[in-house]
């Protein structure tokens, strides 16, 4: 087969598009204070932000797994207009500007919010501007990635495995735990990785709902943004860390993504 010739204008525009991706990355790598990376990473506030980011994003992923898998089951196994509405609502955070999500969380769980006021009066619990708020903001934004991946996994599952299990005497829970979940492992894994990556990079909803308190709510993306003025080398180093994580995820999941290319 002859290779299709690419007209010059298309090649030119594609090249410009590629540069838009690559130049910033090149800038990051070229301007990185490589000599001081170790010192910058060892810096107290940087280490704290990194630790908090890891804790919040992993907790958010864990919550997304516990709540998101059942949600995916319901979305995949039911029909009707109600389900379609539910599905749209679940995926809304994927397209919603994160800062709007933060405002919405504040209005629901803030001190005078829908639920927050009750929590505050009845239990004296305040969520905003705590680590819990950072975790909630990340879960809010990242969970849809897991739900979508797992729902697609359930849909493509051969349901006869579950039927075979039932005919062998397995009740709903046995089938779910011993057949459905293990068969969904690839979908759950890739969904969890996507969810975690999104949670790790979360900025807008977190800063709106949880604020910027070093050691409590100041995650790496927030630290990067604020450090850019005062300590640019720290900002660049933290950015490199996040870039490395992204590349690691991309490489780790190459079979799933690059394989499809």
């Amino acid at each position: 087969m002859r290779r299709a010739r690419v007209p010059a204008p298309i090649g030119l525009l594609a090249g410009l598009g590629l540069l838009l991706f690559l130049l910033p990355l090149a800038g990051l790598v070229v301007r990185a204070p490589w000599g001081q990376t170790a010192t910058a990473l060892g810096d107290q506030s940087t280490a704290v932000a990194l630790g908090l980011s890891v804790f919040c994003s992993l907790t958010a992923t864990a919550i997304a797994l516990v709540l998101g898998i059942p949600l995916a089951v319901i979305l995949a196994r039911t029909r009707g207009p109600l389900r379609n509405v539910l599905r749209a609502l679940t995926t809304l955070p994927m397209v919603l500007p994160p800062v709007v999500g933060g405002v919405a969380l504040l209005l629901a769980f803030g001190r005078r919010g829908l639920v927050g006021s009750i929590l505050n009066q009845a239990f004296g619990v305040q969520i905003p501007f705590t680590t819990a708020a950072a975790v909630m903001a990340e879960t809010f934004v990242a969970m849809p990635f897991l739900v979508i991946a797992v729902e697609a996994g359930i849909r493509s599952l051969d349901h006869r495995y579950e039927e075979a299990a039932r005919s062998l005497g397995a009740g709903y829970w046995t089938v779910f735990v011993r057949v459905t979940l293990p068969l969904l492992r690839p979908a759950i894994f890739s969904g969890a990785v996507l969810c975690w990556a999104r949670a790790l990079g979360e900025f807008g909803a977190t800063i709106t709902f949880a604020g910027n308190f070093p050691g409590r709510t100041q995650t790496v993306p927030i630290a990067v943004y604020l450090a850019l003025e005062s300590r640019p080398e720290a900002a660049i180093t933290l950015s490199l860390v996040l870039l490395a994580v992204s590349i690691a995820i991309l490489v780790g999941m190459r079979d799933r993504w690059l394989g499809a290319l």
């Binding site: 051969d158 039927e163 062998l168 011993r178």
Partner: protein, 347 residues
């Protein structure tokens, strides 16, 4: 253990309506072409398909749509062996066989699964994953997985059709042996008459969702009531209105038949009784029709010649006759059948 079933499943383009009784210790094969509703029937009996009607195993009612009874699949004690095995891909062979025993909370599930595998000569595969098994091995493991739970009713969906033709005979013998040692009621569905006759004592022929015929293999093939059965018996099947010594066929031609009786009848003509001539014969056969050769199938020392015409027939002749008469596709011929070679029975 007697299975008594009246199953109705309605779909947009298809209705399954079957009554079926299978006595304990008997193997019944539901035989029918693809799309006849065989798998739907099995799934309904296994409790996996929405159905109307009544299904009972001895005294125990599994389904009764009038009384609102439906025993879920996991509490039926009905073993189902799928056509393509459906072994759990993430579990080893041993865990697959132990799955049902564990689900039913039997003590020593793993040990008894190990025994089942040993009895079948599959011990060396205990730790293997299903994807590493050959087709025949997967089929045997799927059967063991179902048998290990000691079901009261065993359902097999096309047990051999996923297998390579070269190993089918061997697996069929093994399957027949295992079915014979299973004490519950056995029902298998297949589109392969050989499989049905080799494994079952009773055939139930299913076409377009209904039972058209049932009985022992001999009874069924001796008096075909459908094109499907006639083809599997290798005979010519015609249908028409009998009037004493002849049968008026649908297209207006008349078939002379000794003792045809009256009313709507089937007429069976064995291909061996069909003679072929190049010129119009002049003799005793009462049935002589013109036609042309449609196709010739050589099968060892016989040739099956398909003839089209007013009365389409298959004739069985020797390869020598095919050569001498130059029976090639399109050749104009005459066919003759003696009236005494036509057997008729009420439709």
């Amino acid at each position: 253990m007697t299975l008594d079933a009246a199953v109705r499943v309605g779909r947009d383009d298809f209705t399954l309506d079957v009554r079926l009784t299978v006595a304990g210790g008997e193997t019944v094969a539901v035989l029918g072409p693809n799309g006849a509703g065989k798998t739907t029937l099995l799934r309904a009996l296994a409790g996996l398909e929405e159905m109307q009607g009544r299904v009972s195993l001895d005294e125990k009612v599994l389904d009764d749509s009038d009384a609102g009874i439906h025993v879920p699949a996991e509490r039926r004690r009905v073993g189902l062996v799928f056509q393509d095995h459906v072994l759990f891909p993430h579990l080893t062979v041993l865990e697959n066989v132990a799955f049902g025993l564990r689900s039913l909370r039997r003590p020593n599930a793993v040990e008894s699964a190990r025994r089942w595998l040993a009895d079948a000569g599959l011990s060396d595969k205990a730790g293997a994953l299903p994807r590493s098994l050959s087709g025949g091995q997967a089929q045997r493991v799927a059967l063991l997985r179902a048998l290990a739970t000691e079901p009261r009713l065993l359902l097999l969906d096309e047990p051999l059709s996923a297998l390579d033709v070269s190993i089918r005979a061997e697996v069929r013998r093994e399957l027949a042996r295992q079915l014979a040692s299973f004490r519950g009621t056995r029902l298998l569905v297949t589109h392969d008459p050989l499989e049905a006759i080799a494994l079952a004592n009773t055939l139930v022929v299913l076409e377009r969702g209904s039972v058209v015929q049932s009985g022992t293999p001999d009874e069924v093939t001796a008096r075909p009531r459908s094109r499907f059965v006639a083809d599997l018996a290798g005979v010519n099947l015609l249908r028409g209105l009998a009037a004493g010594d002849h049968v008026l066929l649908g297209d207006g031609s008349s078939l002379a038949a000794a003792g045809a009786g009256t009313g709507d009848v089937f007429a069976v003509i064995h291909p061996r009784a069909v003679a072929i001539y190049r010129n119009r014969p002049d003799g005793t056969p009462r049935n002589v029709w013109p036609g042309s050769v449609d196709s010739v199938d050589l099968q060892g020392d016989r040739a099956r010649v398909r003839i089209k015409g007013a009365v389409p027939l298959v004739a069985e002749v020797t390869p020598g006759a095919v050569r001498e008469l130059n029976l090639v596709a399109g050749a104009a011929v005459w066919v003759a059948v003696k009236a005494t070679e036509v057997s008729t029975y009420p439709a």
